[in-house]
Amino acid sequence: MAVLPAKPSTSKDAGVPKGRRLQARSLERRLKILNVAREMITTDAIPNLSLYDIAHKAEIPPSSLYHFFPKTEVLLQALAEEVFAAFDECVSRPLVDEEVNHWSDISRILETRMLEYYQQNEMARALILGQHLHVDILASDHQHDDEMGKRIEQIYRRYFELPKLPESYNIFAIALQIADKVYAMSHQEFGNITPTMAMEGWRAARSYLALYLPECLQRRTQS
């Protein structure tokens, strides 16, 4: 995950040793580059994205930008990590127990959170759902979904007794990918995830999970 300070240290470091001050300035520059890039990354812009233009807009010498991000892919990867962190947050935010009646409520609530993030964040759509998905980002997206799938499985197990599930792959990770694929179809055709296609993504993911999870799943007796 991108190591970004919550608050970049600013001009108050006058008294700190020179090395520390440089480091702070570095972080600030990196942050500035990412801020500018975040604005510039739209679906149409990705194929022609130029590091030089980003440096120009961020008012940072190109040589300095190349120091942080030698290739476009490195910059895109750093931004993809931000998107992954946002998804992690969607999964970490606690569920309201009263809202979990059927097993599908868990995935529906989590999917809705991620969907809202996608719908409001063009950069995320461009990077993850866009057509110019870089091979490296595709790989790390799959890997990240794998990790999220395992965490979602833990949430399910907190509420329900699950039947035996496949061991060589995680059905919750695949369900995430399936929903994303339908969102991607919508994004690429309409520029965003339409309510209709959001529903279809959810339908496809839910019906897939239902291959493994029966309609009536026993709740875990606890707490």
């Binding site: 194929p47 057509q131 110019h132 998905l133 091979v135 595709l138 790989a139 799959h142 496949p166 060589s168 792959y169 695949i174 990918q177 399936i178 994303d180 694929k181 339908v182 179809m185 690429q188 055709e189 209709t196 296609m197 279809e200 339908r203 496809a204 019906s207 897939y208 239902a210 291959l211």
Partner: protein
């Protein structure tokens, strides 16, 4: 379900250059394309170069450049061919005796697509690896709809379908769902494993099952 079913779609029959090429030119163009396909069996897409193609084809680089000014131009043609192959796959008749349930249609189709992907690493890389040459991607989505409509027609040959949504094609979504599962497998294992091939078709059928009831009456 047979996952090793083989198909015959000589890719070269699809090439339709915009203007009529001289026989020798046409031959060169075809050589370049088939050499590219072969090279891509062992080369990552983003590592393919025009020089490499020229070298392997025994054609001067300037001549390769004449037909395809960029590697992307070659990839676009290859991708277009794959789409045409996907359509040709639908033209092949179904084994009527093996259609007992509506889901058997999708199972037969997906077995053909999986066999096609398995025989061609470049097709897996281009389609399942989501490689994009830019201009072509939109065509891809239009193409999905064409395929979706045709797959729907395949179903309607055998079964009376209930009314379906008009603003999107459930069969187009279903094939994308299957492709996504294949893509996960390709990403992880470099190919579509038996387990994931089955998982892909099952995921597609689960989605279709949201719209198509389990018991569907055959057309007489």
């Amino acid at each position: 379900m047979s996952m090793t079913e083989s198909i015959n779609t000589p890719a070269d029959v699809h090439e339709q250059p915009r203007r009529k090429l001289q026989p020798r030119s046409l031959e060169r163009r075809n050589t370049i394309l088939s050499v590219s396909r072969q090279l891509l069996e062992n080369t990552a897409i983003n590592e393919l170069s025009l020089y490499q193609v020229a070298d392997s084809a025994g054609i001067p680089p300037s001549s390769v450049y004449h037909f395809f000014p960029k590697v992307d131009a070659i990839l676009e043609v290859l991708q277009e061919e794959i789409f045409q192959d996907f359509e040709a796959i639908l033209d092949r008749p179904f084994d009527d005796k093996k259609i007992h349930h509506w889901s058997d249609i999708m199972r037969q189709l997906q077995a053909r697509y999986v066999a096609y992907y398995r025989e061609r690493k470049y097709a897996r890389d281009l389609i399942l690896g989501q490689y994009s040459t830019g201009s072509l991607r939109h065509a891809d989505y239009q193409h999905d709809n064409v395929l979706g409509c045709r797959i729907r027609a395949c179903h309607e040959n055998y079964y009376q379908l209930p009314p379906l949504p008009e603003s999107y094609n459930i069969f187009a979504i279903a094939i994308q769902v299957a492709d996504k599962v294949y893509s996960i497998s390709h990403q992880e294992h470099g190919d579509i494993t038996d387990v994931m091939a089955l998982e892909g078709v099952n995921a597609a059928l689960a989605y279709l099952g949201e719209y198509i009831p389990r018991q569907l009456i055959k057309v007489s």
